[in-house]
């Protein structure tokens, strides 16, 4: 049977809460970016919002999948009937595949969209990239795909981190530094997610690192708003 629970049992639910914090931060930035797009019609704001929405959808898919899988598995444990347990696991397995497929698809598309906002690309290359991502995600249902997905996320997130780092070198703006740090931390969490198969506790470490990354991203965003408001008072 395919492994579809990567979290130690004591951590069930806590990981959902951590992912929900990620969704909150991503949606918050996306909403503001959409608001700014409405103000000045600069499409980059719209693309940035879209990329953050895509990443937040990926976490939503993960949350829903984990929530369903955890509750189904718990249910079988309390019922304790062999035949029912088997059916529940089958349902969970299908849900896991659909949920994890959507999680991977939205996450990779979102990270790539965010990368493309900063590193301009032709429409054709964006289309081709998204097509290959969809194909690769769909056909990669082997256990090995888990590593491939997190490695791809790591590469994309590292590229985004490099962009913000280079930008910080130019503008010396503290919020940009925080952006670089936050995406760097989220990139590091992907490496830990890759090795969850070795020990389930690595999943806990990965989730906590990811949480620190999203809190840093929130701090960067709050800093941006604060600077804007301080300038207004001045």
């Amino acid at each position: 049977m395919v492994q579809f629970v990567f979290s130690p049992k004591w951590f069930w639910g806590k990981d959902i809460f951590i992912d929900a914090i990620g969704v909150f931060v991503l949606v918050l930035i996306a909403v503001f970016s959409t608001r700014y797009y409405k103000l000045n019609k600069n499409r980059n704001y719209l693309y940035l919002a879209l990329s953050f929405y895509l990443i937040s959808f990926s976490y939503l898919a993960k949350i829903l999948t984990n929530f369903t899988v955890y509750s189904k598995v718990l249910e079988t444990a309390t019922i304790g009937l062999l035949i029912i347990t088997y059916q529940k696991v089958r349902v969970s397995e299908i849900l896991f595949f659909i949920g994890f497929f959507l999680y991977r698809l939205f996450a990779l598309s979102g990270f790539y969209a965010l990368y493309s906002v900063h590193e301009k690309q032709s429409k054709l290359s964006i289309f081709l990239m998204l097509y290959f991502m969809a194909i690769a995600t769909y056909f990669s249902l082997s256990p090995f795909s888990y590593y491939v997905f997190y490695f791809a996320s790591f590469i994309l997130l590292s590229s985004i981190t490099m962009h913000y780092y280079k930008r910080y070198k130019k503008n010396k703006y503290s919020a940009t530094k925080f952006l670089a740090v936050s995406f760097g931390i989220i990139a590091i969490s992907q490496i830990f997610f890759m090795f969850v198969g070795i020990n389930l506790n690595i999943y806990v470490v990965a989730e906590i690192i990811q949480l620190i990354g999203y809190i840093t991203l929130l701090a960067a965003f709050v800093m941006v708003l604060k600077h804007g408001r301080e300038k207004n008072k001045g």
């Binding site: 103000l39 906002v117 930008r167 940009t176 952006l179 960067a220 941006v224 408001r229």
Partner: protein, 90 residues
């Protein structure tokens, strides 16, 4: 600012100029401070008055342009947006 100013940039510059002068400014000063032609400024002032972002008043026989509360709020949004743009590099 680099390149051609957008409409939002011009509105931002106008509102900043008014706010920077304590919330009220003479139209001629506004024209120089926001780097605009007379005709251009007239169009923008009419538009901003219509949107309730500024008001035109007369004081001691002089015309003044006053920023409204809505104008202050809009200016804050614009400043937040510029900070956002600066941080994210948009």
């Amino acid at each position: 600012m680099e390149g051609k100013r957008t409409r939002v940039d011009i509105i931002g510059d106008m509102l900043s100029s008014i706010a920077g002068k304590g919330g009220q400014i003479k139209p001629t000063h506004l024209m120089y401070k926001s780097n605009m032609s007379h005709g251009q400024m007239k169009t923008y002032i009419d538009d901003l008055v219509q949107k309730d972002l500024i008001k035109k008043v007369k004081k001691n026989n002089y015309d003044y342009v006053i920023i409204t509360d809505k104008g202050h709020e809009f200016l804050q949004k614009l400043r937040e947006m510029r900070e956002f743009e600066k941080a994210f590099g948009l």
